[in-house]
Symmetry: C2
Subunit: 500 residues, 2 copies
Amino acid sequence: AEEAAVRAQAETVRRLKQDKADPDEIAKEVSKLLEMKAQLGTDEGKQKFVLKTPKGTRDFGPKEMAIRERAFKAIISCFKRHGAEVIDTPVFELKETLTGKYGEDSKLIYDLKDQGGELLSLRYDLTVPFARYLAMNKITNMKRYHVAKVYRRDNPAMTRGRYREFYQCDFDIAGQFDPMIPDAECLKIVHEILSDLQLGDFVIKVNDRRILDGMFAVCGVPDSKFRTICSSVDKLDKVPWEEVRSEMVGEKGLSPEAADRIGDYVQLHGGLELIERLLQDAQLSQNKLAKEGLGDMKLLFEYLTLFGITGKISFDLSLARGLDYYTGVIFEAVLLQQESERLEEPVSVGSVAGGGRYDGLVGMFDPKGRKGPCVGVSIGIERIFSILEQRLEASEEKIRTTETQVLVASAQKKLLEERLKLISELWDAGIKAEILYKKNPKLLNQLQYCEETGIPLVAIVGEQELKDGVVKLRIVATREEVNVRRESLVEEIRIRTSRC
Amino acid sequence: AEEAAVRAQAETVRRLKQDKADPDEIAKEVSKLLEMKAQLGTDEGKQKFVLKTPKGTRDFGPKEMAIRERAFKAIISCFKRHGAEVIDTPVFELKETLTGKYGEDSKLIYDLKDQGGELLSLRYDLTVPFARYLAMNKITNMKRYHVAKVYRRDNPAMTRGRYREFYQCDFDIAGQFDPMIPDAECLKIVHEILSDLQLGDFVIKVNDRRILDGMFAVCGVPDSKFRTICSSVDKLDKVPWEEVRSEMVGEKGLSPEAADRIGDYVQLHGGLELIERLLQDAQLSQNKLAKEGLGDMKLLFEYLTLFGITGKISFDLSLARGLDYYTGVIFEAVLLQQESERLEEPVSVGSVAGGGRYDGLVGMFDPKGRKGPCVGVSIGIERIFSILEQRLEASEEKIRTTETQVLVASAQKKLLEERLKLISELWDAGIKAEILYKKNPKLLNQLQYCEETGIPLVAIVGEQELKDGVVKLRIVATREEVNVRRESLVEEIRIRTSRC
């Protein structure tokens, strides 16, 4: 009976392939087939594996890791410069922890299979786990960073750095403080990181959920439609106003007049002078929320002026941000132009950082609903990787993927034991050293290995050197060779590689 | 109708709670209820969240992270010392990638819910993803490390460092080389790391799958029972021989004679002299596999002698290792004793590292089944964290969780703007600096913040200092205060914190 089931499943797979069905669908059925076969104890399916990483994910090889480490280093050292602690949370959360936090994006959450026990989901961002952490540990004040992978079942566009598994680098400040001081620091951080990474010109768009809500109110949007109209506005960075307008009116049932009034506002962007103008706006100035938001926006710009970064900041009424949990300031950093002369292919431009204030999220986890004001920023590192990778490729710079200082080699045969003894001494002294895993490797092969991997030194043991108590040290770049007394070898290697 | 469903579900939850059902079960039904309510648009369930991380997982707060970073640093610097590159792979793999690799442990794999598209599972270890990576990229030679979280639906025992989400730190060498040279390096690495972390005395048990299989053959175990009897032997580190024997005979249908012959072998452990003796053993010496394994074991011990580490190595015929994919040398490091005089509570002793040779795994992914010999080691870091955490608690050492060098403070009111200007200068110069997010913080509160968080310096701005073009620098530990010219402040802070 089981074999019949396997045959039926094999037939299903055959038909799907013949019909050129959706590859995901085929992969799924093949997987079922393999599992059935595995249970039957046959292994004929073994060679039919689809050899790939899951859709929307990728491996990082040593070169990509080197680039990743560089970007992380710049970001994390900025977070530390601003006095942040670091935390980590599990990759999955109770499903209910994520429920009701992401609005229309909730459909993109990965759930785990119900294998008995709790219902779990992969984290969608690092903000909700942070809020859960604060509430669970009853922490009110904390400045922390968190660098980790998050998961979204989105349509991947990997060449533009959009993945289903991707890193976020988050910095958040929790606590009840005087207005806009931590908010301004978050923007300073984005400015420092994007400047440091030298990704080209950028602008940081800023808005406030209270200004948006006030604007919706004075434009005649019914309260119940605020969030969904906000989602429509959020699309303005990707699609033109006409399309957004027709979504508002057609799909979401907003009156054409209300939509047009929104249309007038969302084209506005500027600096302090725009804030001043809107504070005088006949409608907006009458709305309590908008007035609060505009007042804080003014204060924010004063602080940003002290930080000397207003040149890259744009108060932009079209900025909405998709996530449900924001309550105050929101912001998003966008790269403006690539240094396209240095690149072979132009890289698409897009958002590389975003964040805002979410004063209600911690309260959603608190048993007594106590407020836990927070503001934070998330650096979208994958897009930054893509740019750094393409730039590196264009530059033809060669990056080393190991830190090995010396290869322990021999020119003659039968010296494996001597090589092992020497390398063991070097390892124990903290020297980064390798050998080739051959009994009798050719000297040429050993030297070639150094050239390929960038190892700067070769320590050569030979019969004569052993008698003399020395090791021949070869400098790969210059081909120079010097005899070094064995007891001085560690020190000599340290001196000669001190720049590494 | 939907409301009726919610009421029915609420009733289910109520009954489960009344019956004091399994908390996992309750959590699951509560979660369903919340989701149903969320869909209905009610939010009365909001405050009933179970505020916890999923079973078998934990958060790492700043203190735990500091300990984690220390352990990682020791381990990763060892891997780099041995010339390893680094890679990273996705947290989930196609389900079929993991199928048939883990024997009886497969039931512990976490599957993702089928939400359309590919069937996915969370990685169970880093070895199978590495083999998949090698095969997919047609890489035959590589020495890499990988530090990442893996997932097992095991019964957690968190106080003993057994989690469902835990880090593995893996080092592997892929490639066809002369026998036992890379294998010996893996053992050297375990020795270096455990010595470096100062976890107390340890022993590294070594065996070989070929010796085990040869032993099973000469003891009269039928071929078809090799793997399952191997699984039984694997339990010998936790349960006594009598129990293992009765599992072999009772559950697995092995003859009592065969079991007893195995019993004689598995109590053997020693060094070179035991290897020599078994090479003369009337039965084993006649078995091709065992002979091969013993020959290689002898070679391994010769190399380990050159590395000077045989004192901590024990050739142990009871060592089996659970995973299916091993084909040659296997090993496991066990902590022998805690320095219990320094600890308040004794920590349970157990395996902290393991590994072995798996020459067939890459071939399972290769379309042509080409062999891809590999050997590697995995450091089980959670147990090490547990020990380091408890040790730190006992020592009362205070660890800093930030690296902040200076707090920018003021003694008078209305100096927020001046504080913001100064801190911005410091950040731009790369100084790690903080301010309190208050308009007019009290000096005492600012000094207390430094005491609590270990910030060594305070830069105090005041009206007089501003006029004089100086900043008052206070050294927290000594309470000493010096006036520093503003243009020298960065340099002065650097000098005074150069030990940090």
